[in-house]
């Protein structure tokens, strides 16, 4: 039985108060394992992104708990949570959120800069990560000079530069054409995912489902089940 990287237990999150209150996630419980690429899929408004935010230490749930590698996430203070995210989580956002005026290398180096590593060390690590994602020759260019697929790869390089154990992807192929999207996810599966790493990806792009280890469905804030059971579930 593989070891669980993330254990979510009865996570519930609502927004608003009184009649305006809407429940985004209702008592969601699941586990994600080391060495696994878990997809969270579902229609818009089903609570995928809210759930992703709660398990990555960004959004505090109203009830329930999240344990990452056995550590209760939401018992941490705000500063501890920030440190946790900085060291343990790598984020790939839907719109990349790269700094357009910095070079690609500097963008990738940001997590290490936030970890107070020296500028040279951070840029060196960024260059190595850009090499991993096949963009070694683009380090000095601003992200605006790159294509959508290349920007996504820069975002991935930024997410892995500090060697986090958990990677969270939010709709990574939403802005890409089908071919590029498949290439990116295939690359992630082949080069980024390791036995010591867990990747959780929110998507509703069925073209990349083939690369997942498991697919967790969501609807109306509830987990509806796992569409693809892996050996872990067997």
């Amino acid at each position: 039985m593989p070891k669980a990287a993330i254990v979510a237990d009865k996570l519930t999150k609502w927004f608003g108060e009184g009649e305006a209150r809407t429940c985004a996630v209702k008592e969601a419980s699941f586990e994600a394992y080391w060495g696994e690429m878990l997809y969270i899929v579902g229609p818009s408004g089903s609570g995928k992104t809210t759930l992703l935010s709660m398990i990555s230490g960004i959004l505090r749930p109203n009830s329930g708990s999240v344990a990452v590698d056995g550590r209760d996430l939401w018992s941490l203070s705000d500063d501890e949570l920030a440190d946790f995210r900085l060291k343990t989580i790598g984020f790939v956002f839907q719109d990349y959120h790269l700094f357009p005026r910095l070079t690609t290398g500097e963008n990738v180096a940001i997590p290490l800069i936030l970890q107070k590593r020296s500028w040279d060390e951070a840029l060196g690590a960024a260059a190595r990560c850009l090499e991993v994602v096949g963009l070694a020759d683009k380090a000095q260019l601003p992200p605006t000079k790159l294509s959508g697929g290349e920007q996504q790869r820069v975002a991935i390089a930024r997410a892995i530069v500090h060697q986090p154990e958990i990677l969270v992807f939010d709709e990574p192929t939403a802005s890409l054409d089908g071919e590029t999207g498949r290439k990116i996810v295939s690359f992630v599966k082949g080069h980024i995912l390791t036995a010591e790493r867990c990747i959780v990806m929110v998507t509703h792009d069925s073209r990349i489902f083939e690369y997942s280890d498991r697919i967790m469905g969501m609807e109306d804030g509830r987990i509806t089940g796992f569409e693809r059971e892996t050996a872990y579930e067997a």
Binding site: S53, F93, R101
Partner: protein
Amino acid sequence: MKQLLILAYRLLVSDKGKYTALLVGTTFSVFLIVQMTSTFAGILTKASATVINVGASIWVMDPAATNTVLSSIPMPDYVLDAVRSIDGVKYAVPLYSGAALVKLRDGTYQPVTVIGLDDASLFGRPELLEGNIDDIFAENGFIVVKDEEFPKLENPKLGMEFELNDHRGVIVGIAKVSTGALYGTPTLYTTYNRAIQYIPSMRFTVSYILVEPKADSDIAYIKEEVARLGYLALTNKEFQSGISNYLKYKTGIGTNTLLMTVISFLVGLSISGQTFYTFIIENLEQFGALKAMGAKGRELVIVILFQAGFTAIVGYGLGIGLSTLLISLAKLRLPEYASRVTYTNLGLAFLLVLVIASASGYAGVRRVLKIEPFDIFRG
């Protein structure tokens, strides 16, 4: 911390358009503030030119005559004797200050300021560039000050004769003074007795009594005794301050300068504040992403305040440099250009630029602290 500051610096300067606009706003604001306040400081200094140039420790005058040196109210001679008899007075001499008309060779008249120095001591005499100070006692002898107004007397040379209030005058010396006069009239020095002889005056003739105390500790007593006589004794600094206060508060010059300084500040605040705010808004999502990745709120505050502060300091330096350059260029053409950069001007400009930076930074910090990392996920 250093890494964060480098990141802040890179984020700031890599957006060349915004950074230039920020610098232009701050620089322009500092330039205007320094220019206005320096001109005002120059005017204040020049208004006290005679007080500075004569250099007496204590000036005794009519209590109603503290506005400018030229607005003196003559005092009777007995006051001079009374002041001389006060304990603690080392010596006291009369000074005449008045205006006269010089008839130029082409027949036109040029107003001049005439300073009459005590015949016995010539206390307050200027430093001579040409001529001999003893010649001031020669018949009709006058010393002319070579300042910006000097050409108005047709660039007089030693021995040149002129007509002053229908009296013959002869230039026996050309002098320089440390501070040029404000009012645009050439200055002539002569003896006290010749001045009151040549220039129509009231029954009383002593414009000021210049006093040197035996010791600084005697000044308070001298002032008390002079007050007992019904007159006013001011130290050099107090007299300069009185003249400055008159210009500041009773002529409108101070109000105009203050208004222009405030407008300059507001121009800088609006340009820099608006540009910096736009800069933050344009990078807001990236700041949110930094927060999501693990940057703490206080670290982002440091980034923003550093950016605002860095812009302010660079803009301040450029503004000061630009002001200094312009003043220097102006002084090449007009040596007596009334502008003086003081530490107070620089301090005021620095204070105002800090306010601009703080206001700009505050608006940015508020927006960045408000953004939730979850908003970045939600788009």
